[in-house]
Amino acid sequence: MRIFWPVLAAILVATAVIALIVSKKFRVRYLWRILDLIVGGIFIYAGVIKALDPVQFANDIDNYKTLPWFISVRLAFYLPWLEIVCGLTLIFRFLYRGGLSILTALILIFVGATIAAKARGLDITCGCFGHASKNWNFTSHLLLDLLILAAALVLFSRVGRTKKS
């Protein structure tokens, strides 16, 4: 796993550079693109981490005690790839609106599930970033979720203002 972080960072940086270069109006959209890349990158990272260990992610979903196991285990295989695919849409601006809509819906579900788990007194790990988030407390992981949600909503507001994405 030691090699994983530098490789992932290199992939993200390379993707970011390529995406910036291929975008014709990258100077105008520079700041928006950075936000796209950050949000997309976070979801790709979160998806990859979970796709590498679907068994652990199935247990993390099961810990929320809201879904039966046979659904949790199927979601554990599906959600990481949905995050990766939608994260890529933000980075490459292809099927952008669909990707951003799904990611916003996902983050809303995560925020809701986190708050509901806390309200029910469940002391659980969110599983959002696999083992990397194992020791996060409720506040820090809710804060990160809300930050991502805010960023996604900002991107949404921009989509509404532009004719073409």
Partner: protein
């Protein structure tokens, strides 16, 4: 715009199915699809009681619940004090004995997690999770 977002979203939802199905096929024998604990790792109260002295019991519930009551002869082994309790547990463990881990009820995950750590970290082999947990034990024995 909304229609376009919905259309794109549906396409992405379908697109994500492909690698997910591929990964699920790859993992098909490495994961339990119907229950969080594979049937081979579960033991009923009756089976575990029949093992008698050839089983060592581990109580994965919090300390206060263990102090209130527990399976006779069980050792506390919860994740809150894992580093402290594991050596104590292992000092009583014998290689020829099976380990039965339990938590409060069918719905708790502590026993599953402790059993996994016993297999992964302590390299124990015959580790089982008690079906129905402490709740089932009380029902069957009292």
């Amino acid at each position: 715009m909304k229609l376009r977002a919905v259309r794109e979203g549906l396409l992405l939802i379908a697109l994500a199915c492909l690698p997910a199905i591929g990964e699920a096929i790859y993992f098909r024998d490495k994961i339990s699809w119907q229950s969080p604990i594979p049937a081979s790792e579960l033991v009923t109260v009756d089976q575990a009681r029949a093992w008698g002295d050839s089983a060592t019991w581990a109580d994965a519930r919090p300390d206060e619940e263990f102090a209130r009551d527990h399976v006779p002869g069980a050792f506390p082994l919860n994740e809150d004090r894992w580093n402290e309790l594991l050596p104590q547990f292992l000092s009583h463990w014998l290689p020829e004995k099976k380990v039965v881990v339990y938590c409060s009820a069918e719905s708790c995950n502590a026993a599953r997690d402790v059993a996994k750590r016993l297999r992964d970290e302590a390299q124990l082999k015959d580790v089982f999770v008690l079906q129905g947990g402490w709740e089932e034990w009380v029902k069957k024995t009292r």
